[in-house]
Symmetry: C2
Subunit: 277 residues, 2 copies
């Protein structure tokens, strides 16, 4: 029940129609007795810098969830960002510190990382392959780097994207071995499909699954179907897998912690979410 003591989390993006966060966070806040509300705010690019400044001038703003098309722009509008933001080149969470500075973090990849960690994969010292260096591939790579991997192989059909991501990784994590140009999963502990391949029936697989070994953990970002053809093939080879929607629900506890709320589990969030059909 919204009242005069309710704190706002601004969910800023455009268009708003496909926003899912209000239907995940708000039922959780109600369940947990937290007097806060995620409010969808449709905002186009020209209006965004002024809006971000204005919402953080509110006395009851708790934070902002930033989504398309503003994740990249946001990086340049803040006082402080994490290495994850710098590597991802994008920011999806903003809060104001007690002294009034705006700080940003990026949790798109953190959801993926928390998911595989909770499934038992310790990322410290691991070798990973990320196929796809678009927004989500960059975010996952950034969070994997923050989680302590030893080496990363990056592949994108647009090689400049993979190279750019590789350079940002080297700048921020000089100890991580970065390789670009190959999507061969052989020898990797973790393999991620961060391309849209799998969204549509008949899409080619993002890599040669015959090169996957059973000990490789395989993750997916496509959410349209739970078990994509890629995950099904990987599972058929004995691999442990993570479905795309885990990334969504696993990142929310990270956001809750960032905003300073009581946190919860991805399972509870799934149970209380009212996403409809």
């Amino acid at each position: 029940m919204i009242n005069g003591n309710t704190e706002i989390i601004a969910h800023i993006g455009y268009p708003t129609h496909s926003f899912k966060s209000p239907m995940i966070y708000n039922p959780y806040f109600e369940q947990a007795g937290i007097n806060a509300v995620v409010v969808p705010m449709g905002c186009q690019a020209p209006e965004y810098p002024a809006l971000l400044k204005a919402v953080f001038g509110l006395t009851n703003i708790r934070g902002a969830l930033i989504t398309m098309p503003h994740k990249v722009t946001t990086v340049g509008l803040l006082d402080e960002v994490t290495p994850t933001v710098r590597v991802a080149g994008a920011c999806n969470a903003v809060k104001r510190t007690a002294d009034g500075r705006l700080v940003g973090d990026m949790f798109d990849g953190e959801g993926f990382v928390r998911g595989v960690q909770r499934k038992g994969l310790n990322l410290k010292g691991k070798k990973v392959l990320v196929v796809g260096a678009g927004g989500v591939g960059c975010a996952i790579s950034a969070s994997l780097a923050a989680a302590g991997i030893a080496s990363i192989r990056l592949f994108d059909v647009n090689s400049a994207s993979a190279d750019g991501l590789g350079q940002r990784l080297k700048q921020n994590y000089p100890q991580i071995e970065v390789q670009t140009g190959s999507n061969d999963p052989a020898g990797c502990d973790l393999v991620v499909n961060a391309t849209p391949m799998g969204m549509n029936e008949g899409d080619p697989l993002p890599l040669d699954v015959s090169r996957l070994s059973a000990s490789t953990f395989v993750g997916e970002v496509v959410m349209r179907t739970e078990m994509t053809a890629f995950l099904t093939a990987a599972k058929g080879r004995g691999c442990a897998v993570q479905v795309g929607s885990d990334m969504l629900f696993e990142q929310i506890p990270a956001y809750l912690e960032f905003f300073g709320f009581l946190t919860t589990t991805a399972e509870n969030l799934r149970a209380v979410a009212q996403l409809g059909q």
Copy 2:
């Protein structure tokens, strides 16, 4: 249930703690199946002009409810205002037209007017006395003028306030006879206490009730108790009365109509409101 198609009504003021509108509008929207939400936005004076501009840059903004301390400032920030705003010197409702202009109206007094009209008082050609020329007194006088009264007597302990209001009334409604300097209710069809007198136990009455005739309708703005000492005295003299909270609930249908929503009755709003104790 807030989702990506929800429209926002920004409830802007400071402090927000005593806001009541979210607990009146939002249960009504839910009952009526209207996908909109009143969102409290705490905003202090220096940040207000930029915030107002930014919220009306949102693609899903439906309107704004403006409250303390911004009602006066708002008048100067809009493209178009009603005569009610000009007389009241304040604005508490803003919307954006299809061509992008910001227009404002003022419903604090409209709630009072609708209330007495629905209780059977036809204001056309009537003589009224308004005691108190602060914000609420100005708003009620402005709405009474718009409703077609013939004459108005204005009184305030600060005579400059009553005089200023009188001048604005004459400028916008030259046909209305305006008198200032007396709080004598004799001969009036309607008498309004628009002062805070009655909020605290032992407050003096705002006027000499022995001068009230039974045919005079008596209204009150104080909401702390339903039947204030003033209303009780007026009722004792046989007068029909209107309690302060009627003003609150009667103004909401006016707001709903201004924003282009399906409207409802004050009774229904009272029934669904969740104002707590």
